[in-house]
């Protein structure tokens, strides 16, 4: 495992290795001194072209807890505002010889491109509607702690599947660990033909009772250029998870940030069913594990380039 670009590329054994490692970092996080020297002297660049609270803060804290040096760039307020291309920004940051680049970008395939342009280990922190692998891993970790193995469990992913990279990564991840996944939402928000990935599709919450886990997605108003739902109120009436719809033994998850009163009612967010704050706590230790597995175990420090260091593949256009 050289990069973390997509859950699709991970084997079940690789996923298990990261989750096991995260368990060790959970122990580190309970200590008075929550920092270990593992990545001392190595640089991690965090490059966020989209808004983020949880993902950026937890990746950055994870890097610091491993003693890496951190360069944190947000598109707003950087040279990206002045029109610098992604490629030029990556070339600039590569001058610092980073061990890893964590990137979030509004376009699918951006992380893949960065991996081609840079010698660093690249971690995809969300690329457009494509994937968000670290989210899927932290969700698996959260569920593993609650339920043990996921084999045979039923998981419903409810809401705006169409615009959700979390839905895509989690569908693949849940299935890889043996769970049965149902995608649920209004027809306009479920990608056509997605059943071919081996999941069920439902356009109503009627069968929700069978679910062991209900994974609600945020209605992504910022990605909607046309109207996908007649109105927020109608959407909430049909698809909001509230205390009436959520059974006593069902677990509730959400990748955050939540639109309170849209996809989730306020009361279920704060109920004992909700694993939302556990998900955030898992985010830190799982991202420590990802950095560790890629930088300390699997992807040894980038080998010195052979011959001319300027000679690197430079694919043009055509996002992966």
């Amino acid at each position: 495992m050289k990069h973390l670009l997509a859950i699709e590329q991970l084997s079940r054994a690789e996923i298990d290795a990261i989750l096991d490692r995260a368990e060790s970092f959970a122990e580190v996080s309970r200590r008075d001194i929550k920092k270990v020297p593992t990545l001392r002297g190595r640089t991690v660049v965090s490059l966020f072209y989209e808004a983020s609270t949880r993902t950026s803060s937890s990746f950055e804290l994870a890097a610091k807890r491993l003693s890496a040096d951190l360069v944190s760039i947000k598109a707003a307020g950087s040279s990206v505002d002045k029109g610098e291309s992604l490629k030029d920004t990556v070339a600039t940051l590569s001058a610092y010889d980073p061990a890893a680049i964590v990137i979030r970008h509004p376009h699918a395939g951006a992380a893949q491109l960065v991996a081609e342009w840079s010698d660093a280990v690249v971690i995809n922190a969300g690329d457009g509607k494509h994937e968000h692998p670290s989210q899927a891993l932290l969700d698996l970790f959260t569920l593993r702690r609650q339920l043990g193995a996921l084999d045979g469990k039923r998981i419903w992913i409810v809401g705006d599947v169409l615009h959700s990279r979390v839905a895509r990564s989690n569908l693949i991840a849940f299935q890889a660990m043996g769970a049965q996944v149902t995608l649920c939402g209004p027809p306009a928000l479920i990608p056509r033909g997605i059943e071919e990935l081996g999941c069920e599709v439902s356009h109503s919450l009627d069968g929700l009772g069978e679910a062991d886990v209900v994974y609600a997605l945020r209605l992504q108003k910022e990605r909607m250029k046309e109207s996908f739902v007649p109105s927020i109120r109608e959407y909430a009436a049909n698809f909001q998870i509230d205390s009436r719809r959520l059974g006593a033994r069902q677990l509730l998850m959400h990748p955050g940030p939540v639109n309170r009163g849209v996809e989730l009612s306020g009361e279920v967010i704060d109920s004992p069913h909700s694993l939302i704050s556990e998900q955030v706590a898992s985010g830190l230790v799982v991202r420590m594990a990802i950095l560790y597995e890629l930088l300390a175990v699997g992807g040894a420090h980038p080998a010195p380039a052979e011959g001319d260091p300027g000679e690197r593949p430079t694919p043009m256009g055509q996002p992966a």
């Binding site: 060790s24 270990v36 020297p37 593992t38 300390a296």
Partner: protein
């Protein structure tokens, strides 16, 4: 590959007993002791020493174990492929004011012990640290010296010392195996 047994089950038991006696002798107040084993086999030996100390002193000294993966000085170079098991450290007591006896199976370059000392400091500030090892095979690369040694084993640098314990390997023994020259049939 030839393998020579240097300590058998009874030898191993006696060595540990002697170490336990030496620890008690060197530390007149057993109430201030703690035992911390280094994963994996150091932790097993620490549990045995802990039981022996209880017999000798009627005191239940705190016991913990420590995993040094995150403190290695060769991170990124390689992680031993034969150690896929992930451990976590368990130090559930306050180190302040205690004499901590670090326990490991084999003392070689001293790098593992250095990492363990650094790791332990992240849990607190023990008053004193001592080092107990079942075997000292020499070839130190750091200025580290054991306080209690079960057996000194003169070895060649390329040889391998194998400590096997019932809890992890179904047998109690220590062996030395020859280095296997590349391409040689032995």
């Amino acid at each position: 590959m030839s393998e020579k047994v240097v300590l058998e089950r009874d030898d191993l038991r006696r060595k540990l007993q002697r170490i336990a006696h030496e620890i008690v002798e060197a530390n007149p107040d057993p109430g201030g002791l703690a035992v911390v084993g280094i994963h994996t086999r150091g932790a097993v030996l620490a549990r045995r020493l802990h039981a022996l100390l209880r017999e000798l002193t009627d005191t239940e000294v705190p016991i913990g174990d420590i995993d040094i993966s995150f403190y290695r000085d060769d991170v990124g170079a390689k992680e031993p492929a034969d150690q896929p098991v992930v451990h976590a450290s368990h130090i559930d007591f306050d180190l302040a004011g205690r004499t901590v006896v670090l326990v490991d199976d084999v003392l070689f370059t001293g790098r593992t012990v250095r990492a363990a000392i650094e790791a332990l400091f992240d849990y607190g500030r023990p008053e004193r640290m001592q080092l107990a090892v079942l075997c000292d095979r020499g070839h130190r690369e750091l200025p580290i010296r054991p306080d209690y040694v079960g057996q000194n084993l003169p070895t060649a640098h390329g040889e391998r010392v194998n400590v096997r314990l019932e809890e992890t390997d179904d047998v109690d023994e220590v062996t030395i195996s020859e280095p296997q020259p590349v391409g040689a049939a032995s």
